[in-house]
Symmetry: C2
């Protein structure tokens, strides 16, 4: 075995053992541990902020852009916010231990499904030190060990955060290896982690398309893909235009850099003449339009600037104030467009028609489908899940916003009386 | 694109379209279709049996063993049994369309989770023509399209079965491509199918360790691993020996070639002197014993033949009348053995102690954990699921026996009133 393989083997086996220690803790013990972690982060905030300052200085020296620096920056008030969020997790109901679908079989055996932790979760993410705390806390709340691999730009911050969390684990008499950090920036360690199926039960990549692809292709462990949203909003023939425009603007403008922001507006041909009104409202909010041929002509005639769209632009997750626009002949055309270009994240219809609303909900196969609402709602907090591990765009295990339950599985318990199968 | 890629692309895209047609069928329409499939299989039984006879003749000519020939053989009565099983599936409740966790959010949006089909399922299996019908029927019942890849030894049988199923689909006005068969034995098509993530939502490999490994390593689509059972039974200090022996025999002998059959018997050291009694009972059923050093000595002294066990033998899924035997010092030793060697399928404890029973259920992390019952119960039919797609030994999506629900996912529906996120 190479040194890297040995390192991963040792990380994995330590995580698995640590997971066994966490798996049978009661809710009170886990909440006490989380309180201890919050206290430890507070007590170590000076060291954490100093480590973060070194990361930020190194990032500035490396010429990294301000948007990314803002993401990796911790201030006292941001750190306080991260710590305060731990209290919210403490307040959430613990899904572990619940028993369901219990039944008595004809042979007298009592069959029970019990919700249990997954075991070991691997999370690969980018330069966001808040994710280090967030994921460690959600994993512990659900009795899982976690292996964290953050962006190299936040190495110092993550080491300081992980040290504070690990010291809290030790103080509570639990293995520090419940939370482990891979701080070596070598990319081979990511590939190795993705194949550590002997020890790791689930991989969650929190990052862009390239990371998602890498995980899908290399992992031998189940991966939760997600967080890529090519989202659509379809303005139907019967929609109330005046009430629709704020929803369109909300979906596009409220936070354009996130996965549930709107990417393409589909407009029923019968509303074509109203397109300039909508476009003007979007323009006033600084939105750049990329439009199909027919809408381009309409917008041009109204003196509204737009650029031509093609299949590539319709297949783009903009993550910015750009919006694709397309005129469609009817709802089936809109659905066909969505089936072709959507990433399966969030789509919406604006309509006054119950028939069209039902048809859209039935036929559109994305993780979240809205009627008369902004795509921006696809979020664990908005859905009332209390926490969000990730937003899954695949169909197995968890779909859409993933709350605490997505970090659990179940086992079947069969209690017999020396019962044999006949 | 190569010819093979073109073929897969065309299979996948046809399956996806066909899946959309199935997804919104009501239960009555799907059951009518299943009835039509049963009738079509009956009407074509002569052609199906003739095709199967060609497969069997070719297998015999190729020197294939009788056990495998028995698995690929269809007789009129076996075919009648397969057709009769369709009626049972017709009688099962349809999980699709159920809505759950519905709630009213504070902003007035109604949020609903609706159970929907996965879309397209790929199933890779060995020379068992019954699986062709079974999987097609379960997929259709749950509104999914399916791509089947059976063993090359059953190519003729599978073609005849698929033709009968497809003609029933056409007769009901549905796309024949709801059920597609890859009949080209080229192995590259399996690798290609495993990467068809643009169209296929889930892969179920039904076969041995090598197939499972291939799928875990090559697939970019979520795979349900399973069907490999290294199963343990732990005879605790307090177990009633007389009542335990039939359970041990049932777990090992009732059907030794399947995944839920017993592989290793762990015996508490305090019961060591009773080991020869258990061993004699097993020997009487033709069981070959592979024993740890301590138990080997005990058995030798009692004049009972056994072979020495090592870590390799404890890591073996026997699928035969061989049984590993090990003396353990206590329940923790038993659990440590299970954690090290188990495939996470099924384990059992035999005990009179409530404390030990609870401890075992808490600490053993396998898909099914039994108290005073045979491991042979891990089965969709035994668990009352009505059908069994596979037995999952991984923790995501479905664990243990997979019923109809495992072929579904959910989508979130949000119904607002031109609702914006604030």
């Amino acid at each position: 075995m190479s040194d890297k393989q040995l390192l991963l083997e040792s990380l994995g086996s330590a995580a698995k053992q640590a997971g066994f220690a966490l798996a049978n803790l009661g809710s009170a013990a886990k909440n006490q541990l989380l309180g201890r972690i919050a206290a430890s982060l507070s007590a170590n905030s000076e060291a954490i902020l100093a480590a973060n300052a070194r990361d930020v200085a190194a990032a500035r020296a490396a010429g990294i852009g301000e948007a990314m620096i803002d993401r990796l920056l911790l201030t006292q008030s941001r750190l306080d916010g991260i710590i305060a969020d731990i209290d919210k997790v403490i307040g959430l109901a613990d899904p572990v231990g619940e028993e369901f679908d219990s039944r008595l079989l004809d042979n007298g055996m009592r069959l029970i499904r019990r919700r249990v932790p997954l075991g070991v979760i691997g999370v690969i993410y980018e330069a966001r030190p808040n994710v280090t705390v967030e994921i460690a806390v959600l994993a512990i709340k659900t009795g899982n060990a976690v292996i964290l691999r953050g962006g190299k730009e936040t190495r110092e911050s993550n080491l300081a955060l992980a040290a504070a969390i690990r010291s809290a684990l030790t103080a509570e008499g639990l293995p520090a290896d419940c939370v482990q950090l891979i701080d070596n920036p070598d990319r081979e360690l990511v590939s190795g982690l993705l194949k550590l199926d002997k020890y790791v039960d689930m991989i969650v990549p929190r990052g862009g398309q390239a990371l998602q692809r890498l995980c899908a292709e290399q992992a031998t462990i189940p991966v939760i893909l997600g967080g890529i949203g090519i989202c659509h909003l379809y303005l139907d023939q019967s929609a109330d235009l005046e009430r629709s425009i704020p929803v369109i603007i909300n979906a596009k403008v409220q936070r354009p850099t996130v996965c549930n922001a709107l990417d393409t507006l589909l407009v029923h041909a019968s509303r074509a003449q109203e397109l300039p009104v909508i476009a003007a409202a979007l323009k006033a909010k600084g939105v750049r339009l990329v439009a199909c041929g027919a809408s381009l002509a309409l917008l041009g005639a109204a003196g509204i600037e737009a650029e031509p769209a093609d299949d590539n632009s319709f297949a783009t997750e903009w993550l910015s104030l750009t919006l694709g626009v397309r005129l469609v002949t009817d709802i089936d055309h809109a659905i066909a467009h969505i089936r072709r270009f959507s990433s399966g994240h969030s789509e919406a219809i604006l309509t006054e028609s119950l028939t069209e609303a039902s048809y859209f909900m039935n036929k559109v196969d994305s993780s979240a489908v809205y009627v008369n609402a902004s795509t921006r709602f696809t979020d664990g907090g908005q859905f009332g899940l209390g926490a969000e591990v990730a937003v899954s765009t695949q169909k197995l295990h968890a779909r859409g916003p993933m709350g605490l339950e997505a970090l659990t599985t179940y086992k079947w318990l069969g209690i017999g009386d020396y019962t044999c199968r006949s």
